[in-house]
């Protein structure tokens, strides 16, 4: 890393202000003015629109394996999704995914 101390703090400062402004944007500026129904409808899909796209490359091409698909991680991801769908509970999905991940990585290390 070849940045001066000033440059690093500049990055931190700009990201802090920029991130806050992004988060504040609509909530701060629009306030209680009504929003168009179509916009509200679109926004209801925000979480299912953002998170799967964010996760998919991380599942298929994990950086930790140099971008090569990894069986233990794939199975752990599938388990998380299946348990989450079945139980409708975030924590159960997370716990079973982590257990399967470590079991898979443990087995891979043994074999």
């Amino acid at each position: 890393m070849n940045y001066s101390t000033t440059q690093i703090w500049l990055i931190i400062g700009v990201l802090a202000v920029g991130t806050f402004l992004i988060r504040f944007s609509f909530l701060g500026l629009i306030g209680d003015r009504p929003m168009p129904p179509l916009v509200l409808r679109l926004l209801r899909f925000t979480p299912v629109a953002v998170l799967p796209g964010m996760v998919a490359p991380l599942v298929l091409w994990p950086a930790a394996t140099g971008g090569e698909p990894d069986l233990a991680r794939l199975i752990a991801a599938a388990t998380t999704l299946a348990v989450g769908l079945w139980s409708r509970n975030v924590l159960w999905g997370m716990i079973s995914g982590a257990v399967v991940l470590y079991a898979g990585l443990g087995l891979t290390a043994l074999l």
Binding site: R23, L27, R33, V39, F45, G53, P62
Partner: protein, 239 residues
């Protein structure tokens, strides 16, 4: 709401938020430790790594910035990559407007600072399930959700910084994040429209994976939101 909670609604909404936020300590701890470890490894000082965690308070963007800095990217590219990853929060911000819009400015500003993936998901799930909540209750619920999460985010980053590189790669901390996000998404796939939106998001994000960090995701998210609405309207016409 049960009658027992009507006496001091704001207070009980706050504690309900604390309860609902608490499980996410499990998600935040490995992620925060990992950031501390990686930031130290990359050459940031303790103050700089903590500056990221406290001032930026956005895990994925912090990792994106760090990655670009390790590659010695030009300053504007570092900033663009990290801010692009955070653009999804503009959508979070917009989707909170119908619930929190009438709240006082300082409360909205504080919610904005605390508005990240976990707090947003938990809060919106509750707001959708309980349309009768008052604006004040919603704000206090949001603060409640953030209360157990944020201190762990700060302190566990510090632990990661101090632990440095002592944590072996075999722990696969990198994959805790995808598992956490998948666990959050699964219960949301409650209709064909939601499933279609998720599928479109995955398809477009994978297809555009080569674009600069965050850009493909943004396009994927817009395509997915439109897909969700189109499928929903189509289903309503058929019904």
């Amino acid at each position: 709401m049960p009658t027992s909670t009507e006496k001091e609604p704001a207070k009980s909404a706050y504690w309900a938020g604390v309860r609902d936020g608490a499980p996410f300590i499990l998600v935040v701890v490995p992620f925060a430790v990992l950031f501390g470890v990686v930031a130290t490894d990359a050459g940031l000082t303790l103050a700089q790594a903590m500056g990221f965690t406290v001032l930026v308070i956005a895990g994925a963007a912090q990792f994106a910035a760090l990655q670009m800095m390790v590659e010695n990217a030009a300053l504007p590219m570092v900033l663009l990559a990290a801010l692009a990853v955070n653009l999804r929060m503009a959508m979070y911000s917009a989707s909170l407007v119908p619930y929190l819009g009438p709240a006082p400015l300082w409360k909205r500003a504080l919610v904005a600072y605390l508005n990240f993936d976990q707090t947003y998901m938990v809060a919106v799930t509750r707001y959708e399930a309980r349309p009768e909540m008052s604006v004040d209750d919603r704000v206090w619920y949001f603060f409640g959700v953030a209360t157990p999460i944020v201190p762990f985010w700060y302190t566990m980053t510090l632990v990661g910084i101090l632990a440095g590189t002592a944590i072996p790669d075999a722990w696969a901390l990198d994959f805790i994040l995808p598992i956490a996000f998948l666990a959050m998404v699964a219960p949301m796939l409650k209709s064909l429209a939601h499933v279609a939106a998720a599928a479109m998001s995955i398809f477009v994000a994978l297809a555009l994976n080569g674009l600069p960090s965050g850009t493909g995701l943004l396009i994927a998210a817009f395509a997915a939101m439109i897909t969700g609405v189109v499928v929903e309207i189509w289903q309503e016409r058929r019904a």
